[in-house]
Symmetry: C2
Subunit: 376 residues, 2 copies
């Protein structure tokens, strides 16, 4: 199988992640922080080491990292935990349903109103598009680091700076960037960072985290046992306990830690460069194929994640993907849970086919893809 669906989840996982998963099932499947025996303490230390790795990667204190089932859960916790009745929220025009459905739900319940700031290939224009939507009651800006469909990145630092100047909380969905594009909470003025563990971080599916700045207080959407302050009728005020109710996914968390070590050993920058070389090959090949329709400029460093969306002939995207599947090529087609982005790029009618390499994608994979594409 030629796997180019790393935007959905990275595959294969590094050997160290597979080994780490086994190790976690066998040796770290104990309730951390709730038992006093050595296996429980060793588990707690192992889990903490993953907080440290995430903290080091994105510039957070380890205890300010809370683990979630996925990036979606993290975004729900971030957004719903931030707003109060009467607030105004701004999101970008390329947001995933993990953001769009959340703000729609909040608006339907009469809690917030929201506006959509248009993406622009010009960074300054994008920032201006956010700025002109700011109202006196705007309390939250939510923006993705890069589009999960078209790869284009947002100028986080500039948007974060805008948010900070206006005293607005800045929430970032780093689903397609965390682990490949540099993100620094302090330099990028990010208040809350949400990310999955199973995409560019190379952990198992069912992992993710929410990273929260020191001065950010969040209401909780999930309450329960934390192994701390048990007699407190509410979630404890301190992190990560406040945002971690119930038993954690130790196996997944430890796999994510191994994934991060894999990235660190390769160098995140090197992985990004490698993947951009792969998207170069793919993009150039598609550009030469007169049946291919492209929607964005070629992915360039820092202005795009290594993701390409295209269509072929007059086929619906699902047909292209199905024909490629018959040739043992794995890509995803359709709307990728991001109708906003397709509305923006005028592809709502047939969606797009998405290509997303990983650290494991080879030049040969890309060439085989391009060759087989011509046959469909």
């Amino acid at each position: 199988m030629i796997y180019l669906d790393n935007g959905a989840t990275s595959y294969p996982k590094p050997q160290s992640v597979i080994y780490g998963t086994m190790n976690a099932v066998r040796n770290y499947s104990f309730n951390s922080g709730r038992g006093g025996y050595s296996a429980s303490i060793a588990t707690a230390e192992k889990i903490y080491s993953v907080r440290e790795k995430i903290g080091a990667m994105f510039n957070y204190e380890p205890q300010n990292i809370a683990f979630t089932m996925n990036c979606t859960q993290a975004l729900n916790m971030a957004i719903k935990g931030s707003v109060k009745r009467g607030d105004h929220v701004i999101i970008s025009s390329l947001e995933h349903n993990a953001v769009w459905r959340v703000v729609n739900h909040l608006r339907k319940d009469g809690i917030i109103d929201f506006d959509i700031a248009q993406y622009d290939f010009d960074e300054e224009e994008t920032v201006k598009n956010f700025e002109r939507l700011i109202r006196s009651n705007t309390t939250v800006i939510v923006c993705m680091a890069a589009s999960n469909v078209f790869g284009v990145a947002f100028p986080l630092r500039k948007i974060g700076n805008l948010a900070r100047r206006h005293g607005i909380r800045f929430i970032v969905d780093a689903a397609q960037a965390a682990g490949v594009m540099p993100i620094n909470s302090e330099k990028d003025n990010i208040d809350i960072l949400c990310a999955p563990g199973h995409k560019c971080l190379y952990g198992n599916m069912g992992t993710g985290f929410i990273a929260v700045n020191e001065d950010v207080h969040l209401d909780t959407i999930i309450d329960g046992g934390t192994g701390s302050e048990s007699q407190n009728p509410y979630q404890p005020d301190f992190l990560p306990d406040r945002l971690e109710a119930g038993t954690l996914n130790n196996v997944g968390i430890i796999s994510m830690g191994e994934g991060i070590s894999f990235i660190n050993s390769k160098g995140m920058n090197n992985i990004y460069d490698h993947e951009l070389r792969m998207t170069d090959i793919l993009y150039n090949g598609l550009k030469r194929d007169q049946n291919a329709v492209l929607y964005c400029p070629k992915p360039e460093k820092f202005s795009s994640a290594p993701i390409i969306s295209f269509n072929y002939k007059d086929y619906p995207s699902e047909k292209t993907a199905a024909l490629l599947a018959r040739q043992d090529i794995a890509v995803r087609a359709g709307l990728h849970c991001s109708p906003l982005a397709h509305k923006f790029f005028n592809t709502l009618d047939r969606g797009t086919v998405r290509l997303c390499p990983s650290a494991f994608t080879t030049q040969r994979d890309c060439e085989i893809f391009l060759k087989r594409l011509k046959k469909i």
Copy 2:
């Protein structure tokens, strides 16, 4: 290590679960239902087979099973998704913080009021205690199948019947029962069943599910991509998509499926009998030890989960557990995230030490425990 902390999470996991975990990382780590290539379709089928296994065990249609990160998340979804402003909720006097903190949060927000029905060793009295708290605006009863601290079980069928007669939604927290005690949504009149996958179901940590009856509509607390109805600004109405936003924990879910197969191969009833034999040994040994303080009658079939809580000498429970840990015995002490239960049994001051066997616990384990306990 003599492991008697299976109430926190079962250990060890069956070999088939460990193998299934590996197999899932290698062969089923694809986005199910979102890709059209064979690996994605095979993954979707594998995930569906776990829904079928859970459905068969608790009498639900497979599609009415939604996967969560833990039982806590499932309970939050069940309770918060069920209530509207002005509702009255009844919970039992032994509920875990996964329920108590949820209703406290809802009350603090001015959404609901709630009352606590006292557990009684007499089933009829327990039911009456629920009945006398019913008001005209009572819409939800939440009750655990069995106490996570003291093991005592609730007469679910009778409480469910009471709820049904009054048109009240019945939500069950099966954290310590699912996989060992028989639960049947139809016979027990359960509207929503919540359970973890990593305790008596023998899956990995970070797994759980919410099972919802056909006629139950739930508002959502987590919104996001479902790979379905992408242009719908809200969660789809149909299950399981409505309750499953974002990427699932495939590895964990598949491990849970293997855990259920393990139970089915042994026979749930046989496992229950085995564990009760173990609690018999433990209970009788503690009863003969004049330094041990017990709080409940010996666990009996159907009236208790195989769980014992005790204290030793005048020690705080944490001291007893720490001294046992030095002898390589793993137990949990403290409040077990259930202050309500400790208030009821008058053990809030020092908590209790909990003993919980699994299918893997042997008579020898229990005897070693009893012998070492005498030394502390």
